[in-house]
């Protein structure tokens, strides 16, 4: 089997997620060719065939031209699969490529089994085994599901280019919002999730954080609802943290949240749902009504 891996590049750097694509290729036992829109003057050092398009010409976000470049690479290499990271770049580009190839796309896979692809479903509470039936298949892989495996050596480099009219004009990036709290340095983080029920209950979670001498964190839904400032958000689109103690209050454990906190030394989860995916990474899961338990814990700690 042969796979075309579509790497990622942003603001002058090859993103580490690119090497997880090789982890997937190794697991699948496939010959791998890397396609990247990057810097021809400074190609990544990796022992693989590399098709490199110049970012100065193709841009960082120009999905219509990137689609054309990937399709050219598919025509040249005839891979069985085209593999992307399940990321803002990959989930945007993959369906465009799949549509042009009339290929099945299987999104955010976490494993291979029985000739099919394993993926999470229903907020990671369940799994699906999916089998495609098209000659070529487009795949996106979940971040962290396949360990990075950067091949040693230098690339067999070919510079590629193409033209395509673009209907989307990329103007530049807005940097992340300024943080009034640096959760990355915190030793203890107590995070609020949607399970706290309402904004008024944030104070209760903040009180536990204070009693433990830690910082307040939050999951995305709580931030989107305006209950807690974005600067406190833990997860893929917020901060990645690794405290000595992480307390997850009413957080079900969406994959985007787990990706931001699973390296914590010790995870205490408080949740009314025994099956919540946060249980997968928790050292201790307290199954209870947090509105009763959290104030009681805070009171006892304050003694």
């Amino acid at each position: 089997m042969k796979v075309l891996l579509v790497g990622e590049y942003r603001e002058g750097k090859v993103l580490d997620a690119t090497w997880e694509l090789f982890g997937y290729a190794a697991k699948a036992g496939a010959e791998a060719v890397l396609f990247l829109v990057g810097d021809p003057a400074n190609p990544p050092t990796c022992g693989a065939k590399l098709l490199l398009a110049d970012i100065a010409k193709a841009g960082e976000y120009n999905p219509e031209l990137h689609k054309k470049l990937v399709l050219d690479a598919v025509a040249a290499e005839s891979p069985d699969q085209v593999v992307f990271c399940h990321s803002s770049y990959g989930w945007d580009l993959a369906p465009r490529v799949a549509s042009a190839l009339e290929a099945a796309q299987v999104s955010e896979i976490i494993g291979l089994s029985d000739g099919g692809f394993e993926l999470g479903s229903c907020n990671a509470k369940m799994r699906r085994l999916v089998k495609p039936s098209t000659p070529k298949v487009v795949v996106t892989i979940q971040g962290g599901a396949f360990p990075a495996a950067k091949p040693e050596g230098s690339p067999a480099l070919s510079i590629v280019s193409s033209e395509a009219p673009s209907r989307i004009e990329f103007l530049g990036y807005d940097p992340p919002e300024k943080k009034d709290v640096d959760l990355a340095k915190a030793e203890i983080i107590v995070s609020a999730g949607r399970g706290i029920g309402k904004k008024d209950n944030v104070a209760m979670i903040a009180a536990l954080a204070k009693a433990l001498g830690g910082e307040l964190g939050a999951s995305r839904p709580v931030v989107d609802a305006g209950w807690v400032e974005q600067s406190h958000q833990v997860g893929t689109t917020g901060q990645t943290v690794s405290p000595k103690l992480y307390v997850a209050c009413g957080i079900s454990g969406a994959i985007q949240h787990l990706a931001g906190m699973k390296k914590s030394d010790f995870v205490l989860a408080i949740n009314k749902d025994k099956d919540a995916p946060i249980g997968e990474v928790a050292d201790v899961l307290v199954v209870t009504d947090l509105l009763q338990f959290v104030p009681a814990l805070t009171a006892k700690l304050a003694k």
Partner: protein, 258 residues
């Protein structure tokens, strides 16, 4: 101006999921359904655009699925959509993203929608494919993961969300499809008068066979609960007891409690 918003009805994710008899999706008994959260943002943004333009745009909401999907359409109508289209398909759960996109594209083709709004993914399957596939089939521009949208003089100024809180600023023109990310806006709750008004709005029901003639490109062979990795301790019981046990464990295992 013509606007289309595509919504999916999904299971409430607080539900407990059991595989169905075929073992390919969940058993719907005891499962509550609601509008896919990402699609609520899509409806809200489309309604806001309609309001901003003095109500001129004609706003259609489409959804695919069995009878129960009518509830999600009614909610979108109560939020401010003008007309509903229900593609009646008792077997929608077995369709793959390319088929769902084919159905929407077959409906939308030749209708001249200027903008199509939808969620960036569904909460239950999360393929993040359908919106982009619809745009490809219609041959229109597509922007995914949108967290900011402004419309001025026929031009869209938007932002899409990247990892680590970075946002990409982009410009595009209609016709275009936009997939909406959480946090784009604050979706409204339908008011009682608007819920009553929604009952009088036009609802077109179309059998799926009228719009779909192609097979699936991928099938779900099995739907199952993940094997527990174990290791973690699960505590249950009375609050005072749980508090004592928790403090004892934190003292023993973490070194952050004195």
């Amino acid at each position: 101006m013509k606007l289309l918003v595509c919504v999916k009805q999904v299971a409430d994710l607080e539900s407990r999921f059991k595989p169905n008899a075929a073992g390919t999706w969940y058993d719907e008994a005891d499962v509550a359904f609601r509008m896919n959260e990402y699609d609520e943002y899509a409806v809200e943004e489309a309604v806001r655009l309609k309001e901003k333009l003095g109500g001129e745009p004609d706003l259609t909401v489409i959804s695919i699925g069995p009878e129960r999907v009518g509830e999600a359409i009614k909610k979108a109508l109560a939020m401010g959509c003008d007309r509903g289209v229900h593609v009646l398909d008792p077997d929608a759960a077995s369709k793959d993203p390319s088929q769902i996109a084919a159905i929407i594209a077959a409906f939308a083709k030749d209708k001249g929608f200027d903008l199509v709004f939808t969620g960036m993914q569904s909460q239950d399957r999360g393929s993040a494919q359908v919106g982009l596939l619809v745009a490809e089939r219609l041959g229109i521009a597509a922007l995914s993961t949108m967290v900011a949208f402004e419309w001025a003089d026929g031009v869209i100024a938007a932002k899409r969300e990247l990892e680590g809180g970075i946002k990409a600023r982009v410009k595009l023109r209609p016709p275009a499809l936009l997939t909406c990310q959480l946090g784009l806006n604050v979706p409204r709750y339908p008011t009682l008068p608007n819920i009553m008004k929604a009952k009088k709005k036009e609802l077109l029901v179309l059998p799926v066979a009228d719009l779909l003639s192609e097979g699936a490109k991928a099938v779900t062979q099995k739907f199952y609960a993940p094997a527990r990795k174990g290791g973690g301790l699960v505590l249950e019981g009375d609050t005072a007891d749980l508090v004592d046990k928790t403090i004892a464990i934190l003292k023993e295992k973490t070194g952050v409690l004195r």
